[in-house]
Each structure stands twice: as C-alpha cells, then as structure tokens.
C-alpha cells in the first residue's frame, strides 16, 4: 500500500475512531450507571469496565492536551458505584503515576526546569496537604457541589484560554533573579535554542497555593491550572510550562496522596486498573497525536468535562 493511501486511511479512520470513543464514553458511563442502580454486577466486571473506560479517557486526554486526572474524577465519580473518596484517591494516583513516567525524559531534555518547579512546589505541596484534609472532612454532597462548580469553571477556562508559545519577558522580577529561575531549551519546532526568564513570581506563588489546595481537595492532577500560570502569568515558554507542570504535579500530588492513603481513601482494587488503563491509553494517544485534528478533539473533551461538571452539580442536589 502506498504511503499516501495509508495516510488517507489514517486520516479517515482515526477521527472516526475518536468520535466513536467520545460517544462511547458517555454511553458506557450511562449504561454503567443503569447497571449500578439495577442488578449488582460482579466486582471483576466493574474492574474491566473501569480499565476500558480509563483506557479510552487516556487516549482522548493526551490528544486534547489535558491531564487524565481532571477527566477521571468528575466522570468516574458521576457514573461508577465507588464513593467519591476512593475516586479522588485513585484520581491522584492516576495523575501521579502519569507524571512520574513522563518526568524523566522531560527533565533530561531540559524542558522541565527543576528550579522553577521546586520554587512553586514547596508552597503548593503544603496547600495540597491542607486541601486533601479539608476535602476528606467534607460531606459528600458538598464535595460534589464544589467539584461540579470547579469542573464547569475549568471547562470554561480551557475553552477561553489562549496560550503564548514564546512569551518575551524583558524584565524578570527580583525574586526570580534571587532564585536563579531562568533557562534555555532546544525548541524542536524552531530548530534553535530558546532563552527564557520569568516575571511576577510572587503572584505565581500565591496562585500555586490555590492550585495545590484544589488538587488536594478534589484529587485532580492540576495541569489544567499549572500550565496557564507558568505560561500566562509567569511568562515561561509553553513547552517549558507544560513540562515543568508535570514535575510540580508529581510533588503536589505525592503530598496529597499521603493524606488519602492515611485516611484509607485508596483502594488498590480501584486505583490499579485506573492507573493501568490511563497509562496504556495515553501511550496510544501519544502515537495518534500527530495524526488527528487535536483542536476538534479538545473541543469535544471540553464539552465532555462541562457535562461531567453539570452532572456532579445535579448529584449534589440529589437529582
């Protein structure tokens, strides 16, 4: 088969497959919910459904450029029979395992910046612990209400936000200079080295307190918030922001994960298939990334997030 013919087949089949996945996820979730209300399913059937479900989430998450954790918690807590405590615990571990596997190559290439990450993560991890404790002490309906509001807000921010690939920061602030936060990375797109520095560091630190708190409270990987703060507030290049966000996430989610572990909100039976499904899905998604129109998938995922957020809101009102 010629390369052009193969490319044509790819271009037709892959979007069709992804469209199918996006339709299957709500359909499968609704079916899961109906089964949940009706006959009791064997535990191992739930595990298979969870694995397949997170596998599909992993594929679309990476193509849409969102973290798996932010999709996992609202959707799984809405449609699966597990208590939201265990879903949040699993969500943190899904985000953490993804960050740990992606971290090494990003650091080696110099895309993730250790000093930038450490400066923000120290304060973020402390607020993440507090967020986890507050979140686990709250009644379920309150968590669903706040989660619903947060997810609807996130989908709105994702819909509106425009990244800046190469912000030009002329005057770095005094704190970033004192902390030696600057760097250089090789940009594969431009085929040249890019120097960068940041500004508004104190504002960034304050925002990372809020982000850490939310990540701990809801068990979300906080890439959706880390990246805009690094990129749009601090002025780090987009590629550095994405890579450093992964590194910050590994520290903040570790801190919160320990609170969930000590509060008994982590069940291996739920967490492990979620981690495995999401990791396999993201690997497949990464391979499909260059072959699909990512903006279309991204818009569909934002819509899916908004629906999951509204569903959490309705659940909080007992509807």
């Amino acid at each position: 088969m010629s390369t052009t013919a193969r490319e044509r087949i790819f271009k037709t089949l892959i979007p069709a497959f992804l469209a199918g996945v996006l339709f299957i996820i709500p359909a499968a979730a609704t079916a899961a919910e109906q089964v949940q209300q009706g006959a009791q399913l064997a535990w191992w059937v739930w595990m298979i459904i969870l694995f397949v479900f997170t596998f599909m989430l992993g594929i679309i998450a990476v193509i849409a450029g969102v973290g798996g954790g932010v999709l996992f918690v609202p959707i799984v807590s809405s449609f699966f029979p597990f208590h939201i405590d265990f879903v949040r615990g699993a969500g943190l571990l899904v985000a953490l395992s993804g960050a740990l596997s992606a971290g090494s190559p990003l650091l080696r290439k110099g895309l993730a910046n250790l000093k930038l990450a450490l400066s923000m993560a120290l304060i973020g991890s402390m607020s993440s612990i507090v967020g986890a404790m507050v979140g686990l002490a709250m009644p379920e309906k309150m968590v669903q209400l706040l989660l619903g509001l947060t997810i609807v807000f996130i989908s709105f921010v994702m819909y509106r936000s425009k990244n800046s690939a190469y912000p030009n920061i002329e005057n770095p602030d005094a704190l970033s200079k004192a902390l030696h936060i600057y760097g250089v990375y090789y940009d594969e797109h431009l085929k040249k080295d890019i120097d960068w520095q940041i500004h508004r560091t104190p504002t960034g630190l304050l925002l990372f307190i809020v982000i850490g708190f939310m990540a701990g409270m809801f068990g979300l990987g906080a890439g959706f918030a880390n990246v805009p703060v690094f990129n749009l507030v601090l002025g780090a290049p987009l590629r550095v922001s994405v890579a450093t966000s992964v590194f910050v996430l590994s520290i903040n989610d570790t801190a919160a994960a320990w609170v969930y572990l000590h509060k008994g909100a982590v069940l291996p039976l739920i967490a492990v298939p979620s981690i495995a499904g999401m990791m396999l899905g993201t690997k497949i998604g990464a391979k499909l990334l260059t072959k699909v129109h990512t903006s279309v998938v991204r818009r569909a995922v934002i819509a899916l997030l908004a629906v999951a957020g509204l569903r959490a809101l309705l659940k909080s009102f007992g509807i």
Partner: protein
C-alpha cells in the same frame, strides 16, 4: 542547529533516579495487583467484600472491612491485597527518594538556596507520609 542538552547536572541526576524508580514502581504495581487478584497469597479482605462496601465513605468503609491504610500494612506483607497496597505506597515514595537523591548534588554545586529548599520539600513530604496531620497509623 543540532539539538543540545541544556539540563544541568542536578537535573540529570534527578532524571536518572526518577527513571529507575518509576519503572520499578510500575512493575511493582502490576505484580502486586496480579498476586492480589490471582489469590496466590491470601487477602486481608476478598475483592468481593471490598466491592460490597466501596460505596461507603472511606471512614465508614474501614469500620466494615479490614483492609490496609496508612502504614498499618508493614507487619502484614504476606497478604495479596497488602502487597498491592504496598506497591501504591512505594509509588507515593518515589518523589521523596528522588528529591533526597539530589540534596548532595545541590551541596556539591554549592547551591545553598536550593539545598535548603529541597530539604524543606523532603521534610514536607515526609511529614505527610508519616501521617502526622492526617491521623496516620
């Protein structure tokens, strides 16, 4: 222009230890779960019992089902579910191991600010891991 590596020595040290630790973590998690589900080792609570109660809040769940939480599994490693839980605890320790690993690297570089910051970060994570604030076991 040819691609150049711009990561500094400390960053490369972190990347190296993270690569090894995360690979071990994934293998450990897969092996622990397979042992748990296969019934190769007895479990503190069978999966079917866990499934009967997983709709409960974590605090109520642990009153009904005896499964590991926090560090209470350490003396009971011969059980399948405990092994699977231990693998998750290991995953939550990987960042602590990596950060501790780079403290000597920062000291060698005479980078006082980041030596202190990394030690503080390790202390925060150990504080959480010890369960001091979350009523750990």
């Amino acid at each position: 222009m040819k691609e150049a590596v711009h990561a500094n020595r400390v960053q490369l040290d972190y990347a190296a230890v993270l690569g090894v630790c995360s690979t071990i973590g994934m293998l450990f998690i897969a092996a622990g779960y397979l042992i748990y589900l296969s019934g190769f080792l007895p479990s503190a609570a069978p999966a079917s019992e866990v499934a009967m109660h997983w709709h409960l809040k974590a605090s109520e769940f642990h009153k009904a089902v005896q499964v590991p939480s926090g560090w209470n599994w350490v003396t009971d490693l011969g059980r399948g579910d405990v092994l699977s839980y231990a693998s998750i605890n290991y995953l939550a320790l990987v960042t602590v191991i990596c950060l501790s690993w780079i403290v000597p690297s920062f000291i060698r570089e005479k980078d006082r600010i980041y030596t202190v910051m990394t030690i503080l970060q390790v202390a925060v994570l150990l504080f959480a891991a010890a369960g001091i604030v979350s009523g750990g076991h």
